[in-house]
């Protein structure tokens, strides 16, 4: 008996040490110079916390070994095989699995014979958050990998959405069930029904949210998986689960807020409303002729430019143009041109998406600038090259008060001397708003696949 108590003391001490390592790890992860070490430290914390837990196990060792080995194998294979362009959906998928794990933990706790009222409430909350994280992340995975095309407005989506709203009273019912079952007849197997509703609700939560709002959704799901783990920690009375889970919850929350701010929208608006369809924007006075340009002419202008700003968007990811963009950047620098990259926080489909793509293509990270860094000196830029970005460079956000995106901070490329817009067609961006930038006096449209267009410019430079 004394032996067991000793083990518990040792475990708790190691849990505290792990918690400190998690805290330092996540802090180091927030700075470029220390990020790699921070990740190692946090992995070490995970290793110690898991290892020390193995001192007192009730489950059959075979089950544990099978689970850890199989899970480790699957996880490692996915992580090492995945292409860097598929990172957004990978993060969503792993996040969903974390949510599923807490969901199953809480389910298992529900089957334990003696739960106090408080534990009962915690179990239901953990199941709810974990379940929504799981199925919501799966839908986010489907949307990001473009396997799932269903969106807002379809009949099926509406059915799922109604389950999402149904899940809230269901949650209240299951929380109160032990006390109210004395007064009203118990719903048979209410718990299993609740599990089902929760999973369907997660689908309804993410399904109506459009691709351009994905950075917000992914951050939020990330935050939720942490909160679910922290709740599971309360349930199991385990402090390292609480600390690590809360840290994840907080970091996800911060990213969510940063993303929402970068769109000048509230989180509720993003999750439950979406962009209002705007009919009035076609009345914009700046409609007119667009001025197309060929790669040859673009090359001539670029050759004589002394400063160039590249503004990438989701289109660069789709066209897989990051490598050829880097090549162009290097050739321009050899030619004596100053090259910078203007990265909008919500460009792409997850926080920092463009940064990852450009890093993959070997672009030095000190060349990447945020909107606040590039906007004040925009009028000194000779050429701004917009590659597959649209809403984040739409001047309506600063000039046209009725526009749905009015007030959103943008990269003000329209103030540059010349703007090249690389685009497949004249279709509007995710927000469905027409972009007056395309009709500006200083704008030249370079139609076609971004990778091919830039490839031609690169070829001209090499000649």
């Amino acid at each position: 008996m004394e032996n067991l108590a000793n083990i518990q003391v040792i475990q708790n001490i190691v849990y505290i040490i792990s918690s400190v390592m998690f805290i330092l790890g996540i802090k180091m992860l927030g700075k470029e110079a220390t990020a790699v070490k921070g990740n190692y430290l946090s992995a070490l914390a995970m290793f110690s916390a898991v290892g020390i837990t193995c001192l007192s196990l009730e489950i059959d060792t075979k089950i544990i070994l099978a689970g850890v080995l199989l899970g480790g194998l699957i996880g490692s294979l996915i992580a090492l095989k995945v292409k860097m362009t598929a990172i957004p959906e990978m993060v969503a998928l792993f996040n969903g699995f974390g949510g599923l794990a807490t969901f199953l933990i809480a389910w298992s706790q529900f089957n334990e014979p003696s739960n106090s009222m408080f534990q009962h409430v915690l179990i239901m909350l953990t199941i709810y958050i974990g379940g929504i994280t799981f199925s919501g992340s799966l839908i986010a995975y489907g949307k990001l990998s473009e396997k799932l095309k269903l969106g807002k407005g379809s009949m099926i989506t509406n059915v799922f959405i109604s389950f999402f709203y149904l899940s809230m009273p269901a949650l209240i019912y299951v929380i109160g069930e032990p006390s109210i079952s004395q007064f009203i007849p118990q719903v048979p197997s209410y718990f299993l029904i609740f599990l089902g509703i929760t999973l369907i609700a997660g689908i309804g939560f993410v399904m109506p949210i459009g691709g351009g709002d994905m950075p917000v959704v992914i951050s939020l799901l990330n935050s939720l998986s942490g909160i679910a783990a922290a709740f599971a920690g309360l349930l199991l009375l385990n402090n390292v689960l609480i600390v690590a889970g809360s840290l994840v919850g907080a970091s996800g929350l911060i990213l969510t807020i940063i993303m929402a701010k970068a769109m000048n929208r509230t989180i509720t608006n993003i999750l439950f409303v979406g962009y209002a369809s705007s009919n009035q924007s076609s009345s914009s006075e700046e409609q007119g002729e667009v001025k197309p340009i060929t790669s040859d002419d673009a090359y001539l202008i670029l050759e004589s430019a002394s400063s160039v700003l590249v503004v990438p968007g989701y289109g660069m990811a789709v066209a897989q143009a990051q490598h050829v963009v880097r090549e162009m950047g290097e050739l321009l620098e050899e030619n004596g041109t100053e090259v910078k990259y203007g990265i909008h926080p919500v460009a792409g489909r997850m926080p920092g998406h463009m940064n990852v793509l450009l890093a993959e293509a070997n672009v030095s990270y000190d060349l990447l600038a945020e909107p606040d860094d590039v906007n004040p000196s925009m009028d000194t830029i000779d050429v701004a090259i917009v590659i597959g970005a649209n809403d984040v460079v739409n001047p309506s956000a600063t000039e046209e008060e009725g526009s749905p995106i009015y007030g959103m901070p943008i990269i003000e490329v329209h103030n540059a001397k010349t703007v090249f817009v690389l685009k497949r067609s004249m279709s509007s961006g995710f927000a469905g708003v027409q972009n007056p930038l395309f009709f500006r006096e200083n704008t030249r449209m370079l139609f076609g696949d971004a990778k091919e267009s830039i490839g031609q410019i690169v070829a001209e430079f090499k000649d």
Binding site: G30, M46, V91, S225, P351, V356
Partner: protein
Amino acid sequence: MEMYILLGFVLLLSIFLGLELIAKVPSTLHTPLMSGANAISGIALVGALMLSSAGQMQDILAFGAILFASINVFGGYLVTNRMLSMFKKK
């Protein structure tokens, strides 16, 4: 009950600590931070290992929780590391 209040206190303090720690992150690191935090949420593995074994159903649930948390942990850390190794300053 006192135990819960104490742990609830730990929970709140950790959230505030997290908010302070991460408040100013350069946008270059948004994705690695998210992915790294995602790996940490695999701490659910510790919770899964604490489950008790009583009957087949409980074993299945424990196995599932361990399996999926392990995928989260291994996959999360490796992907973060891969990503961070690409970030270079010239």
